[in-house]
């Protein structure tokens, strides 16, 4: 156990206040995020330069990164325990926003009412809700020694409300992210195994009941069955795999990918950005990106381990589950391993809400890391 030995200080640094947060920044985590953000910006540029309608996007993307990094740094400097104390406000606010987006205040894009339009900008409340829910569940579960069934029920309720609202948009991808967060946090949060098993059985039965009972509208049913069926691959998936595979070992080189140049993969600057990496930089480039994302996950996992308290651990686990699901689902769908659903690749895909939320999420993890010696 090396994690809690930080207090056995050496004489050389004894003169300084070793508990000060700025001494405990996880440099590797910050650096890996920085590298991925730079790579992402380059890829967004590469994916948008051939389409006249999209040429300004990379500038906006960098703008989002600036905002995101600033907010992330700010969140990192705030002791996560203070954020935990505010959880009812964060939670309540995000639930209100999720409710509001279903009203005429929200904008509908591709049949999903998931955005607020603010002039030229749009904002996806689900991204904020993911973080608010992570903080809330961490606050609630971290405060207890044992998770009995009453507590489990409350935690499930906290997760179920935003999940249900997101599903109502309907945004199946984000709903699945909530489910992944729930799974990770409940497992690590100390829910008993038999409760977990019972939950699993209930979840499967519930889904079967909902689908079977005809409670869903036709289009919802279609989406669900489309999501689950992998036979008869769609145009998107075929084109995505074609792009990635033809990149080979070293790729066509930046700006040289024919699939990318021709715009054969839809939304290649956001949900399908990994195809650009795969085609233009080959196995070396895309493997490197996956490895960097792996380092990101590893660093978060490490912070979860060395966190000062269980709430800190749970925050990290929530963020880890969120990122892990995003990464595996997003890259997996471009590789034809996972069904297609519209969720972005963190730090790489174009999209303001995603970039900012991801930066803030890393800010939270950094906060847990930096404040692990403060009381």
């Amino acid at each position: 156990m090396h994690t809690s030995t930080g207090r056995s200080s050496t004489p050389r640094v004894a003169a300084r206040d070793l508990t000060a947060p700025w001494h405990h920044v996880d440099g590797v985590l910050a650096a890996v995020v920085g590298v991925i953000l730079v790579m992402g910006s380059v890829m967004v540029y590469g994916a948008t330069r051939y389409t006249e309608a999209k040429t300004g996007l990379v500038v906006r993307h960098v703008g989002f990164i600036v905002v995101g990094v600033a907010l992330g740094v700010f969140v990192a400097t705030v002791d996560y325990r203070r954020l935990l104390a505010w959880w009812p406000f964060l939670y309540g606010g995000s639930v209100l926003l999720l409710l509001g987006v279903l009203t005429p205040l929200g904008a509908t894009v591709n049949g999903t009412s998931g955005w607020y339009r603010l002039g030229p900008l749009s904002f996806q409340p689900a991204e904020l809700a993911k973080l608010a829910t992570i903080i809330s569940v961490a606050a609630f579960l971290g405060a207890a020694d044992r998770v009995d069934w009453q507590r489990l029920a409350v935690a499930l309720g906290l997760l179920a409300v935003p999940l249900g609202l997101v599903l109502a948009q309907p945004d199946l991808g984000s709903a699945l992210v909530f489910a992944a967060i729930a799974l990770g946090m409940l497992v690590v949060g100390g829910v008993r195994l038999r409760h977990l098993v019972a939950l699993g059985v209930l979840a499967v039965a519930g889904v079967a009941l909902v689908v079977g009972s005809g409670m869903l509208d036709d289009y919802q049913q279609d989406r669900l069955s489309n999501f689950l069926s992998t036979d008869g691959q769609s145009y998107n998936v075929t084109q995505a795999q074609t792009a990635i595979s033809s990149g080979g070992l070293t790729g066509y080189g930046f700006g040289e990918g024919p699939q990318t140049r021709g715009g054969f993969v839809p939304v290649q600057e956001s949900d399908f950005i990994f195809t650009v990496v795969g085609e233009e930089f080959g196995f070396i480039g895309s493997g490197l990106l996956v490895a960097l994302l792996g380092v990101l996950i590893w660093r978060i996992w490490r912070v979860a381990q060395i966190a000062a308290d269980s709430a800190g651990t749970l925050i990290c686990v929530g963020v880890l589950s969120m990122f892990l699901f995003h990464i595996f689902e997003n890259i997996g769908m471009t590789l034809g391993m996972m069904p297609v659903t519209g969720i972005p690749l963190p730090f790489v895909s174009y999209g303001g809400s995603s970039i900012v939320a991801s930066c803030v999420a890393v800010g939270l993890v950094e906060s847990v890391h930096m404040h692990r010696f403060t009381r």
Partner: protein, 730 residues
Amino acid sequence: MDTDSAKVRLGAVGIVAVSLFLALFARLWFLQGIERQEFEAASVSNRLRVIQTEGPRGRILDRNGRVIVDNRTTIVVTLDREPLRERVSGLDERDPEDLEKIREELSEEFESTAAALTSLSIPTTAEDIWERYTDKRYSPQEPVPVAEDVGEEVEQYFMERTADYPGVLVERRTVREYPYGSLAAHLLGYVGEINDEELLARGAEVPGSDEEPATTTTLPGQEPKPYEAGDSIGKTGVERAYEQDLRAVPGERTIEVNARGEMLDVVSDTPPVPGEDVWLTIDIDQQALAEAALAEKIESIRGGRTSDGMDIEAPQGSVVITDPETGEVRAMASYPTYDPRLIVNGIPTALWEYYQDPANGLPLNNWAMQGGYAPGSTFKPITALAGMQSGFIGPGNETFYDQGVYELQNCSGGKCEFQNAGRARLGSVDLTRSLTVSSDVYYYWIAENLWLGRGAYGETPIQDTAEQFGLGSSTGIELPGELSGRIPTPQNRREAYEANPEAFLTGDWYTGDNLNTAIGQGDVLVTPLQLANAYATLGNGGTVMRPHVAFQTTRAIDATQPPGEEGNYEVVRTIEPEELGSVEMTPDQYGKLFQGLLGVTQDPGGTASSVWAANPTAWPFAGKTGTAQVRDKADTSVFAGWGPAVPGQAPEYAIAVIIPESGFGSDVAAPLTFEILTPISEGRVDPVCPLVEPERSECEQDKAAAYERLAAATAAGGDEGDTAPGTEEP
């Protein structure tokens, strides 16, 4: 929260994370490392489009290099029915009620398009457009033309208003141009859009069909030229026969496109190779002369009566002129004719119906090689030779006394008496005389004796000789659709009867059949081309040449200069004269035929002597009249021969003229032959001018100048010899 348990559970999360990342790496390696080639091919086919670019079709030139078929660009307004059909989906065009509904539904579109065309001074009604819309001759996917040969202002008008006129397209097409109008139309043939059968035969795939294309075969040493749906292809005549030469090799442009099909880049561009120019053996001036004389003759005799009182219908007629030494066709005229300029954008319905109605003489048919006629007395040289070859007519000068009637020797019922035309008593005739005066009785005598002596002569000495001349089978001319004609024999009579006993009275061969055959009647059928070729064989001393209409193909060196100009072309392929066989004749036998046929025009008793007597052709001409009887109709008038008919001198022209339902050979076909041959023999065929400007004006001026010079020279008379060449005043 139990710390140890939390660590374990966190470890489990870590294991899950590691597993998921390993799965991603594995899949990534599988796609990029192992499956790469397969997907790379998909990527290539995704973005690269190969476009076939058409090159100009080869031109067709006459023997002197004058362009008679050229290319030009035309602008056509077409109607793409697909977008209109979408509006009336659910209605069935085959159901008359639905069809009426479709018409109502789309009437507004048709009205507005018609109004627009009318305002652009192309008078059009909605009715016209509807007719095209329902035109069965166009495949449903194919846009139908609604206005052809329109100006650029029309193109611009519709290009700027595509949204207002759904389905209306404006296309630029390259079409054939005919500087001499309908001249030689049958011989030249026409081009049309390639059909499914032709595509398959040329190894191309038919869109929307699973049929396997054929493995293509071409002339040795020639690469097959690729085709795709929508291409033009020769349908008839020279256009079809020389398709492989005329066809341009399409270019191939490979472009890179994006997902929306927009072009990003030209990857490679192989320009098309223009088709080769085909030089015909035809002399366009002689062709024009033959066509004009034929048309004038037919039109002048129509409605009159023959000398034996029958109505002259003359529904059709043909003239074929060949070079007896080489088999080159100099002119091939068929009446009635059609104007290929009217069908460059497809044959309009009304015109098609007109062409298909037999009452209009079937103008698309090339009667010169697709019409089969009884040759009548023009067949007699063949019977005469058969008589000599069999030995029935010996080298001595056997004569037979022609009383105008011939009675069969052992007549056992049926028809026993055969007579000359008009029971003419021609007196004592030998073989030579029998040809000159056209005695039927002499040939009845030969025919009966050959049949009675079939134990010694065989059953078919006459037919065997006819076969040597190439009659009864196609001549091998390269033009498509040649009729093979028919020479009746006991055997094929029997076979025809056995195959279809209802259609014939008998399957037996009687003496009378031999008699009819001997004078080119009965079941004997020849085409004008076969007859011309047979007389070419007589003219050249017995060599059967394959008639042909082209002698070389060339490629222009400078595309901007006339393709027939001296030094501006290189020869790609030469079409050599081809000997198909020969007719066995001793000099004595040949001499008798020669003298007999020369007498036809030269001897005072010759059947065509009155035609030639007044003003003989510049050189002696040997030939034979023919008058073939057709039940209840006027006789078929036939003439065939060659010239110059001078022993030891190569003949230059063989000719055959056949006009059905027009009367005696000496009344119609012989005078027509004379009219055509006189200027040819004198070397003063009136040059024909193209119909297109500025060539027409230039040609007319040259012609006028030539006439002036000729007139001046004639007026100057004897002084001409004193003027040194080159000092002539302009």
